[in-house]
Amino acid sequence: MEKIIELKNITKEYDGEKVLDNINLDIYDKEFVTILGPSGCGKTTTLRIIGGFEMPDEGDCIFDGKRINDVPAYRRHVNTVFQKYALFPHLNVFENIAFALRLQKVPEREIVTRVQEMLELVALKGFEHKKVTYLSGGQQQRVAIARALINQPRVLLLDEPLGALDLKLRKDMQKELKNIQTRTGITFIYVTHDQEEALTMSDTVVVMSEGRIQQIGTPTDIYNEPVNAFVADFIGESNILDGVMIKDRLARFAGKDFVCVDGGFDPNEPVDVVVRPEDVDFVDVEKGMLTGTVTSVNFKGVHYEFIVDINGFKWMIQSTDFVEEGREIGLYIEPDAIHIMKKSEYSGLYGDYSSYSDELDELSNADDVEE
């Protein structure tokens, strides 16, 4: 696969505050790349630099081997699906989609066929003469996608396109977007703060925090082999413990020694240990590698979610078995469920569920509108 976009040492400051700090990113042709991170991590700014709406203070933006820092947005072979769609309210569905073609003075006949094709692609046939302001959020979203795709761009940028839709619709649109991407073979660069969205759709996930790229990898890599506590916590749920790597394949944490599958650390190197909630099994107390007390139980549909106190550290554990609150329980962890990470600036900040509540979780996800 060939590289289509390269970002090299991109730095951007607003009012003396670094929003992008030395970003290096290669994007390959026909790839579905998701830039994932919390509000204010610089993901939208990165997208706007590729789209031509922001100039980097330092560094180069390369498109197809050519430096495009000075190429204005309207001459880049890139189109954008904006947050909240940004449809033209004075034009109907047809004219919104035909906008780019009208600028190029494409013959009317061809415009009609191509708009029809696009309407079919986004499943909006029969809507051509509707006013865009009368459409539902999901329909407006489809118009925005069709409008951006009709120009047959090499790269489509999507800035939190599903942020304003309700959960059910969002799931459907995720599938549809992935479908459109596969069918058209256009490179998608997708910005979101929703980790589940990122894992579902992407070929490559780029995790960002505080203006820096934390990790680039496939969804499986990012989930199974997070590089630091930030990534482990941001993608899915994680119990992150302070530990020591005694030697290769032997780690000590929670006061016990555990056989694991990782190696390559110095003897007795302090590390962060990640154990995913679904990788811990409940066993009888005497058979347990660890023992703890269940302090809360939440029913989540497919499984229960438990908070278990083990020597004062609260673990999150997900299991289909029910255990009542207050019970003493043994825990078993497979060696390959233990993931060891180097210490980082994020060590100790995440992965402890002592102050966890569902409500807080929802609050932190409510910041759809950002940057």
């Binding site: 189109n79 947050q83 909240k84 033209f88 004075h90 780019a100 190029q104 120009n151």
Partner: protein, 269 residues
Amino acid sequence: MRKKSFMSSLVAVPHMVWCALFIVAPLLFVIYYSFTNTEGSFTLDNLTRLSDYGDTFLLSVEMSIIATFFAFLVGYPFAYFMARQSETGRKICMILLMLPMWTNLLIRTYSMMAILDDGGFLNSVLAWIGLGPVHIVGTKGAVIFGMAYDFFPYMVLPIYTAISKIDNRLMEAAQDLGCNGRRVLTRVVLPLSKSGIISGITMVFVPSISTFYISQKLGGGTFELIGDTIERQFQVPSTYNIGAMISLVMMILILISVAVMNRFSESED
């Protein structure tokens, strides 16, 4: 509930009295005078005599249209520029725009006369650099300039409001789809500020067509506009009736044109 609505209608009473006294009553007087003669008996003579003023009317229309056109030509870019400034920039522009409005219209026109007059400031400067003197006051151009100048803020403000309401993302979307700066303006900003343009045009055209002071001062008495004609009729009681009729017809024509303009702006909203 009933008591509350009674109270709230009580609050509206002063306003209604005000309207009745200062809007409805004068209107009734105008209508009364329009259809009576000096003795106070009913007549349609005033209506038939209107044709005497056709040429004056057409001249007024012509000059107001030109003045409105120039006010738009300068006002639109100004409003666009203003809307794209930072908060402070907008405030400065707003002050510059509003400052002359704090001066009375008559005084403003008078000072404009002092500037443009044959022996005025502008001609002194022109004479000094060897280009003058240019005879300005007393020409049609001076009157058109006066109209455009006096009513300029009425053109800018509604357009400015309309442009600043346009979401910046729409302009970015237009660029994204291939618009250069000029096309962003013609394809997106202009159509989306149409309502502001229509208000601006109405608000400059209406006072321009009925003005009498500007044409008297800057026109130097060389020609008469419909506003001057009306004013002249009301200087002697014997011509009140024809003056009232011209006013009434003007008012109806203006109402019709405003209605047409509004219909035009609503049709695409």
